[in-house]
């Protein structure tokens, strides 16, 4: 059984180590679990919210009633969500592609292993064979680079694909609901 003094000391220590204290530190740790932000609802971002409203207004028209506008807003929300996912996916590939020094982790490991093997065989100061030097200096380009990026980022791309699929499905059903409402409304107006 720990003494009272020890328990108090433990509690004091625990209180002293419960994460960052400063606002900056707290702000940073608040983003620890942040990966791509695609699971955050569109309406939590004011910029996206504005885009949703603009797109909904553009879709439903200026003279739309509340019901149609609400359905158009759902379509717009799904569309903006979809656009956000596609942009993130596009950026993931494009940033790697436009980086001239891009190197995949697998290739870096392969190069390290090759250098170690050469050093073990010929010693540290022996020049490496030409083909080894050529491989070490080589950087993938063109289709090989893009294929390599796709392989490296396969996991992330797959995760984004799931988000895209969900957004597409939501948009499809939102559009169907919107279409039905518009059609009903139109029929009513024609009957009257």
């Amino acid at each position: 059984m720990a003494s009272t003094r020890k328990i108090q000391a433990n509690r004091a220590n625990a209180r002293a180590s419960t994460g960052p204290k400063t606002a900056r530190g707290r702000a940073r740790t608040a983003r620890n679990a942040f990966r791509h932000g695609l699971s955050v609802p569109v309406f939590s971002d004011p910029v996206f919210s504005e885009e949703v409203d603009a797109l909904a207004r553009e879709t439903a028209g200026s003279d739309a009633d509340a019901e149609i506008l609400e359905l158009a807003r759902r379509v717009a929300e799904a569309e903006i969500d979809l656009r956000r996912v596609r942009y993130a996916r596009h950026q993931l590939v494009n940033s790697a592609l436009s980086d001239p020094d891009y190197e995949s982790e697998a290739r870096v490991r392969e190069k390290d292993a090759l250098v170690l093997r050469c050093m073990r065989v010929g010693g540290a100061f022996t020049p490496m064979p030409y083909d080894v030097v050529e491989f070490l200096d080589s950087k993938p380009s063109g289709p090989l680079k893009l294929a390599m990026i796709l392989s490296d980022k396969a996991g992330q791309l797959l995760a984004m694909d799931r988000y895209e699929r969900r957004a597409l499905s939501r948009r499809k059903f939102a559009i169907r609901a919107y279409d039905i409402s518009c059609m009903v409304l139109w029929k009513l107006s024609q009957v009257d």
Partner: protein
Amino acid sequence: MASKRSRSNPKTKSMTSAPARVQRFAFFGPPPLLEGEDAALYDDLIGRMCAAVKPNDMIDELYIVDVVSLEWEIMRWCRLKFGLLQAVAQNKLKWFLNQRLDYEAYAEASANALGEILTEILPESPQNNIAEEAKELAHQYVQSQPEAVKKVMVVLEAAGLDADRILDQAKAQRAEELAQEYVRREPKATKLVKELLASSGRTMHDLMLVDLPGKLDEIERIDRLITIAETRRNISLREIDRRRAVLGEALRRKVQEVEEGEFEVIETTRAEGQSPVQARRESRTATGRTLRGSRTAIVKSSKVNQAKGTIRRG
């Protein structure tokens, strides 16, 4: 409800011109282009798709953007697959040429490479032009003239360089150049490569097959991307079809209703002092059908034309 009555169908908004529509597509954000892709081609594709589909509303436009971006993606991945296979073939050909290239085929390249190095490391002499001397010495070296070989070895050794390494580099460089020329289908390179392949009893397919298993994962991944994009594009196309079908059906039904309602059989009323038989006879001699009112008929006809026009546009 009054507002609903006065409201027009959003699916049948007035059409805008094609360039204006392309302008409107800016609303959907920048085109999803990767480095090195042509934005003008993408815009052209959007323009052609608009001309073919003739979008009725924002949602049609949204689907068009979808179809175009997915089609673009499909083309990109197909191009990538082809490029990857070509790169695999080129790399293997380079390796093969590096193994099989005759000395004569890369002697000139070796002489040039060696000449450049000798120009930098030969001791300066006031009488001779170093560049000329280095060039001549390099040519004599590749022709294996003993004196030149001896002199070059001494000079290179003093500079801490290895002649064999320089020749290997020149050979590798020549092999790479030849492989590129072969891919560009240059006749001289094609002939040389075919001769070398024939002499070793191999074909380009054999060479490709060596490295292809290592790339199968990547190719499979690209195929999967193509399949996903194709499926999504087809869904978007189906949705456009569905929207058109719903709109078309509604309009067709409306047209039918309007056409049926345009003419109506109405009972003729007997005039005062006229016997029923006389009245019946008169009604038979007339058309039997009477327009309820010319104004109504005109209104209904205009509705028919309007509806027909919308179907035609759709």
